[in-house]
């Protein structure tokens, strides 16, 4: 296959891809950022947050689940799409209780960083104030469902990387909520550990490691110094390196 064939165009920039790659993977590999919250390098894509919406021939698709195909002409960084992304971010904010100033995740939170990146200045929509359960049963890990954005990352990380299948999403519509795969439904009763990817992957403050609060002072946190664009591109490179190392190990074995 010739190099010319395996090219997509995102906002008029030619980007190479390998067959089987999604638009998201091809873009990130070329250091082209498409905003996203539920995508993580190395995990199977889900397509639920819809922040990575791009347009192909005026049709909106999720970049993280759409395979790259030769000669695709894609619009991503447009004022209209960024406005839509901002509105979707606002939706996530009002659906849960995102009390940034008093949340331990502030400064390290991807939802908050996304809001800054997209220039979100208010919630715009009315708050839902839903009742959602907190699970503080585990000695080391706290699950606060009020801040969960249902991105499914912990579900996939636990199943695909940790090999534990600790989490699932249950219920329909705004009643959808994270459940724990244990007899009591409590985290303490599950096999989760602080070293699991499922514990650390949470983009918001829904899953927190206990007794580490404010060890890094506010002002010295990730998004105090970097934009989510920078960290996401970094995350992609690190993720790809990790995958390569794993593939290498698997081959040697």
């Amino acid at each position: 296959m010739s190099a010319i064939q395996n090219t997509i165009r995102i906002d008029n920039q030619a980007i190479p891809f390998t067959p089987g790659q999604t638009i998201m993977d091809a873009a990130l590999a070329a250091k082209v950022y498409i905003p996203h919250l539920c995508h993580y390098p190395g995990l199977p894509p889900s397509g639920n947050c819809r922040l990575c919406i791009v347009e192909i021939e005026n049709r909106s698709v999720a970049a993280c689940t759409t395979p790259a195909a030769a000669d695709q002409t894609i619009c991503s960084n447009t004022p209209e799409l960024n406005e839509a992304r901002k509105a979707l971010t606002q939706m996530l904010f009002v659906e849960g209780d995102h009390i940034c100033p008093s949340c331990e995740k502030t400064g390290n939170c991807k939802l908050q960083a996304m809001a800054y990146y997209l220039g979100m200045l208010d919630d715009h929509f009315p708050q839902f104030y839903q009742r959602r359960e907190i699970d503080a049963s585990h000695p080391d890990i706290l699950l606060d469902r009020r801040r969960c954005i249902l991105c499914d990352l912990c579900v996939r990380a636990s199943r695909e990387v940790d090999g534990k299948n600790v989490f699932a999403i249950a219920g329909r519509g705004t009643k959808a909520h994270l459940i724990v795969n244990s007899p009591s439904g409590k985290l303490a009763d599950s096999s989760i550990a602080t070293t699991d990817l499922a514990t650390t992957i949470c983009p918001v403050g829904a899953i927190l490691i206990k007794e580490q609060g404010y060890q890094v002072p506010i002002g010295q946190r990730i998004y105090d110094h970097h934009t989510i664009r920078e960290t996401s591109l970094q995350e992609h490179i690190a993720g790809c390196d990790k995958l390569k190392r794993k593939e290498h190990q698997d081959t040697e074995r």
């Binding site: 819809r50 939706m91 009002v94 705004t174």
Partner: protein, 587 residues
């Protein structure tokens, strides 16, 4: 249950998980955490998967329901609001029970559910899954008496449960009854390739609404290599206002199974599945009878019509209350014992469907049409309709008209013609294709039912001049917020916001800015959602704003109004402090 999935390895239960959970729900009136654990062990599934399913489907409950569990339809046609009266509230008052909460003695629980497909039968409900039609305040009082006296449903008057199917207009499909095996014999005589050609030449398009070419679908599936091929009948008729599949399943099940068997012959399937919506569970025994008759006649099972290599059988799987499962990939997820969340497409089911194998998913009406086409020939079929919409369409007509029921028309029939035929007068609006479809007013009644003009899966809801259209919009918005699977942000949050916004306008607290918000939300949901539910959920709002702007405008306030009712927000504080004096209120 005799008909069930048999794909599990031999040491696992032979019945479908949805059927097992239904049986538990029936017996214990809820599915307890202990029961979920037991089922997870039996089926060798993660507990979270079982719990996820119980939480996803409306007809499963983790909290005990009453021994009489009553679900009122909340559809605009068969719903509980009747001539200004709220029949659900009426029954709830008479039985001293709060909707949504089981009475303390466990005798009764009352709730509401999305359209149960009885729109031509007046206000209707399901009592322990059995439909009860033609409700009115008198009948509500009698039902309350029966329940209060704890009289078993077997002893309730039989006529309460009667469903009168009325077919007002018959055309190609409803005029003729197929002799069992007739089409199949033709197919075997002419071979699979020629049978496929007949379907292709007929120009049949799918009758579920999307209108994909049936011959093309069968061909793609037939050409795709796989370990097995499957035929699935989508009998999850959930679009509010449609009930034609109910009638077809009752009176034309033979033709349906014949169509499925034909499809199996063409694509090389050994197994077929009918996914029947939970609301139609009462049709199950009839369908099972027809299936076993066909097995006895050699039309199902091994060596069909003595053909050496043609083996095919059909299982029935009953859903459990989820509109989204009418979406074909969500339906397949449900068959695969998962919550009905639509898959990422492509790949499409035709290449990667049930159990990852090539699968044809067709509507009930489509499969019946296919059987007739093979029996009578493609020219019999394509002599009727328009150039782009071949054949006939069976419509479920209901709402403000004299003659609700089933109408089969050639494609291309004008809306006004249908309104005249069903005795609808002074019509304000028609919702075609259900809440997910298109809302039109009188200036558009000269349009036609066809794929190239106004397409419908069958729902045809009529709203007379006295209808409050804003109430209709609220009804639809509540429906979508309730039925959104919750997977993607724009649909999960957006349908809820749309609902809240319409409620706010109807309550007289809306301002001009809320109209802008409606438009913004509708655009986001329509363009950026994951699946067809989201893509269509805001259609009615956009149509309403375009054709009936005054419906919204007359409710608007000229001045700023708070997002929420400030005094109402203090109510919980008043309850906690046990105060209700003037100082505990705002003004």
């Amino acid at each position: 249950m005799s008909n069930s999935c048999q794909h599990n390895s031999s040491n696992l239960p032979q019945e479908h998980l949805l059927h097992r959970l239904h049986a538990l729900q029936q017996e214990y009136l809820h599915i307890s955490p202990q029961a979920m654990q037991q089922v997870a062990v039996e089926f060798n599934l993660p507990l979270s998967q079982v719990a996820g399913i119980v939480a996803f489907y409306s007809f499963f409950s983790a909290q005990p329901c009453g021994r009489f569990h009553i679900l009122f339809s909340n559809c605009t046609s068969c719903g509980y609001l009747l001539a200004g009266q709220n029949l659900m509230q009426l029954l709830a008052q008479q039985l001293q029970v709060t909707p949504g909460k089981t009475r303390a003695d466990g005798l009764i629980s009352i709730g509401e559910t999305s359209c149960i497909g009885l729109c031509d039968q007046g206000a209707s409900l399901l009592v322990n899954g059995i439909p009860l039609t033609h409700l009115n305040p008198d009948k509500i009082a009698q039902i309350a008496q029966q329940i209060t006296a704890n009289i078993s449903m077997d002893e309730w008057p039989g006529e309460w449960f009667e469903i009168h199917d009325t077919i007002h207009r018959r055309n190609l499909l409803l005029t003729t009854q197929l002799a069992p095996g007739n089409a199949l014999q033709q197919a075997i005589t002419h071979g699979a390739a020629e049978t496929l050609t007949t379907i292709q030449q007929s120009g049949l398009n799918g009758r579920g609404g999307a209108g994909f070419n049936t011959g093309k679908k069968w061909q793609l599936c037939r050409e795709k290599l796989g370990d097995a091929h499957y035929v699935i009948c989508n009998a999850d008729e959930g679009e509010p206002g449609t009930f034609k599949d109910r009638v077809l399943l009752h009176h034309h099940a033979e033709a349906l199974f014949e169509g499925m068997t034909l499809c199996a012959f063409v694509i090389g399937a050994n197994k077929g599945l009918v996914y029947l919506r939970g609301e139609y569970r009462y049709l199950l025994s009839h369908l099972q009878t027809v299936l076993s008759q066909r097995r006895n006649q050699g039309l199902l099972g091994r060596h069909i019509l003595n053909h050496a290599d043609f083996h095919f059988d059909i299982d029935l799987v009953v859903g459990a209350g989820a509109y989204i499962c009418g979406e074909e990939s969500a339906l397949i997820e449900s068959l695969e014992v998962k919550p009905g969340i639509p898959r990422i497409r492509p790949p499409f089911p035709v290449t990667h469907g049930y159990l990852g194998q090539p699968t044809v998913v067709n509507n009930v009406e489509t499969l019946i049409a296919a059987a007739h086409i093979v029996a009578h020939g493609s020219s019999w079929f394509n002599s009727v309709g328009t150039q782009k919409s071949i054949g006939t369409k069976i419509l479920s007509v209901s709402g403000d008209c004299r003659l609700p029921g089933i109408y089969e028309y050639p494609f291309g029939v004008r809306i006004q013609q249908i309104l005249d035929d069903c005795g609808a007068q002074r019509v304000q609006a028609v919702q075609i294709g259900g809440p997910a479809g298109k809302l039109i007013g009188a200036p558009d009644f000269n349009h036609t039912i066809s794929f190239e003009d106004i397409s419908t899966g069958g729902s045809f809801l009529i709203f007379g001049h006295q209808r409050d259209l804003l109430a209709v919009h609220r009804n639809f918005a509540h429906f979508f917020a309730h039925e959104s699977c919750g997977f993607c942000t724009p649909c999960r949050v957006g349908t809820q916001l749309l609902k809240n916004n319409l409620d706010k306008i109807a309550e007289g607290r809306g301002t001009t800015n809320d109209i802008e918000t409606l438009k913004q939300l509708a655009f986001l949901i329509q363009h950026h959602s994951h699946c067809g539910l989201g893509h269509t959920a805001a259609n009615h709002v956009l149509d309403g704003l375009q054709h009936f702007p005054q419906v919204f405008a007359t409710h608007l306030n000229q001045h700023f109004v708070a997002q929420f009712d400030l005094d109402q927000a203090l109510e919980s504080a008043r309850q906690i402090t046990r105060r209700d004096d003037a100082a505990a209120h705002l003004d």
